[in-house]
């Protein structure tokens, strides 16, 4: 009849990926949303600064694969929450270095613990060794693999 009776959504990788990603994101979102009133992009920016240290908005865009307007707004929001400060860079005043404040760092460390616990819980819910496999495959698909 349709000629597509064999093509199921649940085997279409983009769909599967989305369902899984949405499910986990939504769940973890609760943590930073409730605790700190953060949006996903804010959490990502916070994480990048906390994990990889001081950097410019552009560098965050590149590393995180986020659009510059999203980052710009997240930075403004985090600044308003006093989680980060900008400092002009001598030599090139177009961009500024972003760094976490003390409370920004505290929030980062707190959320990191939650994230680690969440991640561990997910991994524990999978059969032995599957998490590793999944991780490898996802890195490839995300374009983060070393190939």
């Amino acid at each position: 009849m349709t000629g597509d009776a064999d093509f199921d959504l649940t085997t279409f990788l983009p769909y599967l990926l989305n369902q899984a990603a949405e499910r986990l994101s939504l769940e973890f979102q609760q943590t930073y949303k409730v605790k700190y009133g953060m949006l996903r992009t804010e959490w990502r920016v916070l994480f990048h600064l906390g994990r990889y240290g001081e950097m410019t908005a552009k560098q965050i865009c590149d590393r995180a694969g986020l659009h510059k307007t999203k980052v710009s707004r997240a930075v403004t929001a985090l600044e308003k929450k006093r989680f980060l400060i900008r400092s002009e860079m001598a030599g090139d005043r177009r961009h500024s270095a972003l760094a976490l404040t003390k409370s920004g760092r505290a929030a980062f460390e707190d959320l990191c613990r939650d994230a680690q616990a969440f991640d561990a819980q997910i991994r524990a819910s999978l059969p032995d060794g599957e998490a590793q496999l999944l991780e490898r495959g996802l890195m490839r698909l995300a374009g983060l693999a070393q190939d």
Copy 2:
């Protein structure tokens, strides 16, 4: 220093999942966006009706895990494009059966071919057997597994 130096974003499953999902979705999105000016939710609704046959909005919500307002708007949009028609159900006038029109079906079949090709291409880009593993793991995480 931070105590979290070992916790890398690239091993945090929700993040990885998101990166991979976004990447693939964005790429495939081009297809239905350019060809038919459809949004992701519209494509999903179209797909459900094409693949599983006539059903109500509620059934689509449940099967696709979409919120009813999203579905409602997607249905309106698809109706405007003349890709589907509603027919009142005798006996219960609260819900109506949704069915693809001829051109709706044609769009579905066309996009299905594209989707299958896209999926095949992704799978081919992965090492032997990895796609299967990935699929299994994702189904579990997405909560679609039979466990």
